[in-house]
């Protein structure tokens, strides 16, 4: 399936002359999960507001399944389910009442409303909370109601702004599974601060910083840039670095402050086995050897920092 569900074309939003978002363009296909990453105030929420028609872009356009959001907002909005950063819940209503209203407003036909409500509740694990006032639910359950409201009309595109904020680890796992499940049939766009989350649920990642897209690509591209041919070796009696460089495949060795050694190697020549052998032979006292992963945080900082440096230059 290669149907394009979301098409953002050179989205720009100015706030009093300052560009909160500038020239953001991307496409999303059906069955894909897109993760939006970025520091605070980068323009993630602004972009999402523009995608959902809550905010008019200063320039550029949004198309949902080929329908222009500005020219034909009602038709386009009917295809979207949106959970804003602040949950739009009517706290004086019960879960059932609220979801029924949500279904009705999203044009679910009269006889299907009950089914849609039950279905959304079951998917978000809310079935036993039907008659409770939203006000009295815990933060995590309120978040689930927010998500249920966004998927109730099984929209083509589900847009979730920081869906896992305030949830406990088990709930986070459930929600992630739910997002994956929704992502099978529909398209999902989610924003988050939690980097491993992106890796777990998203197919595509966009990193946005100061209103500009600094990275746009598949999750595998990001993963590859994380791994980067490095080994972290722990040795009790570390030899001179020269000795390590003798080992085949090792291009660089560096003693870290923690007493570990970071070894870089050429692409496709993992020298782990050789290092183990050499360590046994020379009694270096090997106690740990593992691929050194640059944390996503580092990748993230690199990407956003480079941009800042380029701007300063």
């Amino acid at each position: 399936m290669s149907n394009i569900t979301v098409e953002a074309i050179e989205l720009t939003r100015l706030y009093g002359g300052r560009a909160a978002v500038s020239d953001v363009s991307f496409n999303l296909k059906q069955g894909e999960v897109l993760g939006f990453l970025g520091p605070n105030g980068a323009g993630k929420s602004t972009t999402m507001k523009m995608l959902t028609g809550n905010l008019a872009p200063s320039a550029g356009s949004v198309k949902i399944c080929g329908i222009d959001m500005i020219e034909n907002p009602k038709e386009a909005k009917a295809l979207i389910g949106y959970l804003p950063e602040m949950r739009p819940l009517y706290k004086e209503l019960t879960v059932d009442e609220y979801l029924t209203i949500a279904a009705r407003l999203h044009r679910v036909s009269g006889k299907n409303i009950k089914k849609a409500v039950e279905n959304a509740k079951a998917r978000c694990g809310l079935s036993h909370m039907s008659k409770r006032l939203i006000e009295n639910l815990s933060n995590g359950y309120q978040q689930r109601v927010g998500i249920a409201q966004a998927i109730i009309h099984s929209p083509m595109v589900v847009i979730l702004d920081e869906p896992t904020v305030g949830l406990d680890p088990i709930q986070i796992r459930d929600i992630r599974a739910l997002i994956r499940e929704i992502g099978q049939e529909h398209s999902v766009i989610l924003s988050t601060h939690i980097l491993p989350e992106v890796e777990m649920v998203c197919d595509h990642v966009q990193i946005i910083d100061k209103g500009k897209l600094v990275f746009n690509g598949g999750i595998d591209v990001l993963k590859r840039s994380r791994l980067g041919n490095k080994l972290l070796v722990g040795l009790h009696q570390a030899p001179q670095m020269d000795a390590l460089l003798q080992i085949q495949g090792v291009t660089e060795a560096e003693l870290l402050e923690s007493g570990m050694v970071r070894v870089r190697f050429a692409e496709g020549e993992n020298p782990s086995e050789e290092i183990v052998k050499a360590s046994v032979k020379h009694k270096w006292g090997l106690y740990q050897i593992a691929l050194d992963q640059t944390s996503l945080e580092d990748v993230f900082v690199q990407l956003t920092f480079h941009d800042a440096a380029a701007e300063a230059a």
Partner: protein, 248 residues
């Protein structure tokens, strides 16, 4: 789609104690006043000897009750209209409506009609109370119909103004106070300029236009005034919410 918003508004109005409380208080005050006027009627009429001094029971009770109703609504409409939009702003629930397949016009009209329907319940209850007099007297139903239409139009005008002030702020209380001040000013405008009935400013007074209805007269000029008043403030509200989307 407007109907769905109306339903939602009514639901949340009845989900909060405020809606019930206001309805109960209004019913109580109107009922009390009604009983009082019916009792008074006999006292006053038994004292009226000349035929010119005698008035029908409909006019006597009706003008008392409807006169009070128009005044009481001045206080109760701001209390109900204040939360329509400002509460949504405060609780950040507006995106829920904005991202649903609805135009802003539909949202505003739905909220407005929701409030008017709620208040109309009280007004129809009032009409039913008046009609009850027909059990032992001949009631002038035309008078009741005119008063009911007038009161609905008056209350709808209050609501439109309240809705507009509610869209300006995220503090419901501020919206209520602003609405009350504006309504009060419009109500008593004619009192200040009572000497000159042809004055243009007097013509803006809401009470001035309700007067003909309260005499049992449906004047198209007054109907037009109320309709224009309502339209003006609804359009202003739509524009205000549209500006939210444009300016953020």
């Amino acid at each position: 789609m407007i109907f769905n918003i109306v339903r939602k508004e009514l639901k949340s109005m009845f989900a909060s104690p405020l809606g019930w409380a206001i309805m109960a208080i209004l019913s109580f005050i109107f009922g009390l006043y009604f009983t009082n006027s019916v009792g008074n009627y006999f006292d006053v009429m038994s004292g009226a000897i000349r035929p010119a001094e005698r008035t029908g029971v409909t006019t006597f009770v009706g003008s008392a009750v409807y006169g009070l109703a128009s005044f009481i609504m001045l206080f109760s409409v701001p209390l109900l209209s204040m939360r329509l939009i400002s509460e949504e702003r405060r609780a950040q629930t507006l995106p829920f409506l904005f991202s649903a397949p609805l135009s802003i016009t539909e949202i505003v009209l739905g909220k407005f009609i929701g409030l008017v329907v709620f208040l109309s319940m009280v007004i129809f209850y009032l009409a039913a109370m008046m009609a009850m007099l027909n059990l032992w007297a001949d009631i002038d139903f035309g008078f009741i119909v005119a008063n009911t239409i007038g009161l609905v139009l008056l209350v709808a005008s209050f609501s439109a103004l309240g809705l507009y002030f509610s869209s300006l702020t995220s503090q419901p209380v501020v919206a209520a106070i602003l609405t009350f001040i504006a309504l009060f000013a419009l109500m008593i405008l004619d009192r200040f300029l009572a000497g000159d009935p042809s004055n243009t400013v007097t013509y803006l007074s809401l009470m001035q236009h309700f007067q003909s209805f309260s005499r049992g007269l449906i004047d198209s000029a007054d109907v037009a005034y109320f309709v224009l008043f309502i339209t003006t403030f609804l359009v202003l509200t739509i524009r205000r919410l549209d500006a939210d989307r444009l300016r953020g």
